[in-house]
């Protein structure tokens, strides 16, 4: 089997909040065009791991970091522009944030700030992202209304559309399905499967079944330790390498 090129290489990653060690010496690779699910109980450092990737951890008070993270072979701690890095890494937060501007502007904000001014191109981009996030049909007639007035589930999809709007190469989703109904969740899962051809997807989820449905590989974190990373069918088989993995995905603990 030919190994696909590595998109993200994490080596010896340690993160502390003050004295508390949240990520303990993680090393793993993420391949290009795969869906990697990150599972684990609360407080295991899943969200922190994503924050390292787009360096929003920089602005967290008291966080210190050791080890290297490379995206496309480039150390993200040494990139020239952290803003270009963040454009490369789309992020969807667990709680939906509709920015207090129109639906159109919510999606057009990132491309505009990146210098895209052509009206028709911008409109195309907005429509494509909203379609990808399974929101277009619901909002196409009211793109000028406020994004923050949408319902919670719609705002979550708006957040996904916004994360897609700057055409990231890596899309990180942090429990995106927390605020949306099962039907929409399934629709977005379908979208993610299609998006895999265009980008690498990291999916933090508390729903182990979602990881099973979507992911090529699954990473199991337990209080900052990388317990196991392997193909999803192995993780969810009866004989994963670690006993704890089996217990977690089968709901025996956690």
């Amino acid at each position: 089997m030919v190994t696909p090129p590595k998109k993200i290489e994490v080596a010896g990653l340690q993160v502390w909040y003050g004295r508390h060690e949240v990520l303990k010496n993680l090393s793993f690779d993420v391949y290009d065009h795969e869906i990697l699910a990150i599972i684990g109980p609360a407080q295991s450092g899943k969200t922190t791991l994503l924050k390292v990737l787009n360096r929003t951890l920089d602005s967290a008070a008291g966080a210190t970091l050791k080890g290297t993270v490379k995206i496309d072979g480039e150390d993200i701690m040494k990139v020239r522009s952290v803003f270009d890095l963040r454009r490369k890494v789309g992020m969807v937060s667990p709680l939906p944030v509709g920015l207090p501007m129109s639906i159109f502007d919510n999606v057009a904000f990132a491309p505009q700030q990146a210098g895209l001014t052509n009206r028709t191109e911008l409109a195309d981009r907005v429509e494509r992202c909203l379609r990808q996030a399974a929101l277009w049909d619901e909002v196409k007639d009211r793109l000028r209304t406020l994004g923050s007035k949408l319902s919670g589930g719609q705002q979550q999809r708006l957040t996904i559309a916004r994360a897609l709007s700057h055409q990231p190469e890596i899309l990180c989703l942090d429990e995106f399905s927390i605020a949306i109904d099962p039907v929409t969740t399934m629709r977005i899962e379908e979208v993610l499967k299609q998006l895999r051809s265009q980008m690498t997807i990291l999916l933090v989820t508390n729903l182990v079944q979602q990881a099973k449905r979507l992911a090529d590989r699954t990473l199991f974190l337990l209080s900052g330790d990388l317990v196991e990373i392997d193909r999803t069918d192995v993780i969810f088989s009866d004989h994963p390498a670690q006993r704890k993995t089996y217990e977690y995905v089968n709901g025996i603990f956690g």
Binding site: T56, V97, P100, F109, Q113, T159
Partner: protein
Amino acid sequence: MRTASGLEIRDTADLKSALPSGRIRPPDPCKEQPAPDPVSTRFTETRFSRRKQRNERVAQTVFLGMTLLMILPLLLIVGYLFYQAWPILSWDFLFTNPKHGMRAGGLWSPLLGTIYLVAISLAIAAPVGVLAAVYLNEYARNNWFTRIIHLAVVNLAGVPSIVHALFGLGAFVLFAGLGRSILAASLTLAIMTLPVIIASTKEALSSVPMSFREACWCVGATRWQTIRGVVLPNSISGILTGIILQVSRAAGETAPIMFTGAVFFKAIKEGDPFAYGLFDQCMALSMHLFTISTQVPDVPPALPYGIAVVLLATVLSVNALAIVLRIYLRSHKKW
């Protein structure tokens, strides 16, 4: 097992045995339900519930009373001032200089002086204050240096105005060589209002939820793009309100301008809004009121009240503007 409301609770083993199919069916409305207790105990009055209601009424009355107590003096003051000042109020009163050793005439010169002082001091304090607050709230990291600045701002806001006056006298009038002038007085007022503007602007900025900023950063926006795109548009009403409320403070203060640029008497060209120059001395309403009431004998009784009414009306009309502005901007508030 029965609860007070009469619902029957079965444990899960019970449920399973009752429903062999394993599915939980909703209770059938046609079938006989367990009858509710003949006298529901839930809504009857008890000693506790009566006491709760009485406390509620007492609390409401007390708070209402305090509110009325607060409004009453204001209404009395305004009413009394208008009553006393009524004979002297007219358009001429606004647009003529004081005459006959300030015992007659109007208050064009002090009115224009106050407008100059307030406008210039805010033109200096507002941009500096707002930009400083944006830095402190959006850029500065939370370290000892920022905390010291914050502490300094808060304490500066509590410095008595007469201290600002002495500082203004030393720094602007003497050291900077501006002399006693509108500019020196305005700068002193600006120093006085600056910390309050910084504090109120910071307050307005920090009322914008952090998640909005994070969402912007996550799509690769810089700090400035985030501030311009999301933070400022959503805090502008609070920022403007904070600034406008400083108008009344700047207009009302006597002490800071007394040593730095305001004079007892100065006649200027009537009806000319540009009658003062930056380096002229000027009259001011607050100072004029003080002079008329304490330094000048045989003043017609209505005159000081007239000045007070004009001062009050100026300040209140600016505050009214602030309220209208706030209502307008709030109606556009977006979350």
